[in-house]
Symmetry: C2
Subunit: 376 residues, 2 copies
């Protein structure tokens, strides 16, 4: 159930109720690709960093350790130890970005595993079966993610096929949810909008999948090569055609600035590997901009990463210590920085919710939209 | 202050009071070589694993980030965030095991950094100055650690020199502790016994350094190539000549079985990289023996690493999940296993203390001395 509590222009403050708990939106979903957030965080660290939703990757878990094994072990919640909402992607994006020897056909995609070269077929039915075995809270329909810029004709054919794949995804998920021994019989299914950077394709596709009455809708295929102005243009074009009473999810996006722009345009959910990946290289988000902790100037700096931050890392450790840990090759460096960056993202979204509650979102956005993406 | 509370044969239950807190002995000291326990543990995780003392390495911290920088930042306690007792070694062992181009002279050792080849000189005075800058609770005298087996003549000359180095160490530490701006004016200094596997050299050396009235005494130069029976023979030979009213520390030892044997012979303090290093390869100590979590048979095993263990890892995660994390190359694998193995060691020492308290140490030792070192 998705309840909009307040709106501010197109921006929405809402509550999304699932069998694994309520998500306050706008929300950031924290990426735990292989069932663990990279950098050494466990499910038991997630509450300390303000995480509401854990996101796991279907493609990776299908290859290793295998979704059938995870089902046998009780599903992703039991496997990882996280009892809150989990979203699984469809596997589509990873097949297109990681797998080799892809052949796309009407029935689905033939590809080779990036781990051992094993030949695999995945279509909408297979993706739903895998996600059903994983037992996530929210499954994603199976789509093709096309890199930008794309030819109009290919984009059109691809997103027509993705629309047919959404229909098949829904049908298969309905069947799986009704089985007596399914891991999560209340598994939700979100549709995914595609159409590259072509507004007419995006809108037509969105209308078509909106008719399928899925549990939420995502905008896929953005932040895959196009300038950010193009991304904002497409979000503005497509959100008016997304059901107002269902969550809207912008997949794989993005910087703090991107998130502020997308919230303004009516998006509710986000995910991105950027905060954890940047953290592992010592690139740290702060209210003053992005700090590179490897910089010589932090050598004897006793301040925390961000003096305005209340995360477990900033409450306890200095820039000088964290810089030393990176230079010394200590794993703790990455862990402390991943904690900081994910806390930053989850807190950014919490502050956005507060601003929407208080009617101050426009000021909040104006204050931070540029500065947070700037390297200092 | 070191107070023996109870004895059982040569074994001692005692309390060691320092300015940074009381250590219940026998105790295991947890190795944080570069100011962090490898595997991503922070100082704030140490209380969760039962750690009483953190051990940091003088050689590593002198090279990187530099002891002068750490002094400027307030010493190792402020730098790492651990407020309990910290022991620093003298640097001697690492110079002999890691550094290149060593030349040993009466004044000290000339060597090249293993990081950048930089030429460095370290003698007793330099080692004390570095440890004083680090501000540890307990400093170690500067010694030469000779690999076993060693020629008698070399062993004799080396341990005579080490005795002279201990005198110089004590004199320099007394001077440093009296300076007005020293980081820890109450820094303790332990002497180190050497003499390879020759009982006469060991005993003569021990008598000589016992006369120096240092704050505690370590047995160094064991577990460096000799069979374990040789090690036990030397411990038995030397402990009768160690002051009964000062802590006794067996450096760099060892397996759970080694520790039980040494406690029986009157040793109070231990340190070893084995639990954390083995953990990072998935070799896990349990009450049933050493388990290799990478084994195929744990693929779908929902039990914790050790069903008898109460550590944060065993309370939360299954063998199947941890094995998956290793296969997937997730850092969390190492962190969970380091937590388990260090908890195991700290708990082993706590159980030894309980057994000494209850007069059941002999039974406890008999039950576990072999099984804990066996691979299963």
């Amino acid at each position: 159930m998705f309840t909009v509590l307040k709106t501010d222009g197109n921006a929405r403050l809402a509550e999304f109720t699932t069998v694994h708990g309520v998500v306050q939106t706008p929300a950031f979903m924290n990426v735990a690709t292989q069932g663990a957030i990279k950098g050494g965080l466990s499910a038991y660290d997630l509450k300390d960093i303000g995480c509401q939703v854990q996101l796991c990757n279907t493609y990776h878990l299908h290859l290793r350790p295998g979704d059938k094994l995870i089902r046998e072990l009780g599903g992703l919640h039991a496997f990882t130890g996280w009892d809150g909402p989990i979203l699984t992607d469809s596997g589509g994006f990873q097949i297109f970005s990681l797998a080799a020897l892809r052949r796309i056909r009407e029935e689905g995609v033939y590809f080779s595993s990036h781990i051992d070269g094993r030949k695999i077929f995945m279509g909408p039915e297979e993706s739903m079966q895998i996600q059903s075995n994983l037992g996530s809270t929210i499954a994603m329909g199976f789509d093709e993610c096309v890199e930008n810029p794309a030819e109009y004709d290919y984009a059109k054919r691809s997103c027509e096929r993705t629309a047919r794949w959404m229909e098949r995804s829904k049908k298969e998920m309905d069947r799986l949810n009704a089985l007596p021994d399914t891991v999560n019989p209340n598994q939700l299914l979100f549709g995914i909008n595609q159409g590259c950077t072509y507004e007419d394709l995006r809108i037509e596709h969105m209308k078509r999948i909106a008719d399928m009455d899925m549990d939420g809708y995502a905008i896929g295929g953005l932040a895959v090569g196009e300038p950010k102005e193009e991304m904002y243009r497409i979000i503005s074009a497509v959100t008016p055609f997304m059901p107002i009473d269902k969550p809207r999810y912008l997949m794989g996006v993005g910087t703090p600035g991107n998130i502020l722009e997308a919230v303004e345009r009516g998006v509710d959910l986000f995910d991105c590997v950027m905060p954890s990946r940047n953290a592992r290289h010592g690139h740290l988000f702060t209210k003053e901009g992005i700090r590179n902790i490897n910089n010589e100037k932090y050598k004897n700096d006793l301040s925390p990463i961000d003096p305005q931050c209340g995360c477990p890392t900033c409450r306890r450790h200095s820039r000088a210590y964290i810089r030393h840990l990176f230079k010394a090759g200590e794993m703790l460096a990455m862990r402390l920085c991943v904690i900081h960056n994910l806390w930053f993202y989850n807190t950014l979204l919490a502050e956005i919710r507060d601003a929407l509650q208080n009617g101050t979102f426009a000021q909040y956005k104006a204050k931070y939209v540029d500065i947070l993406d700037t390297r200092i």
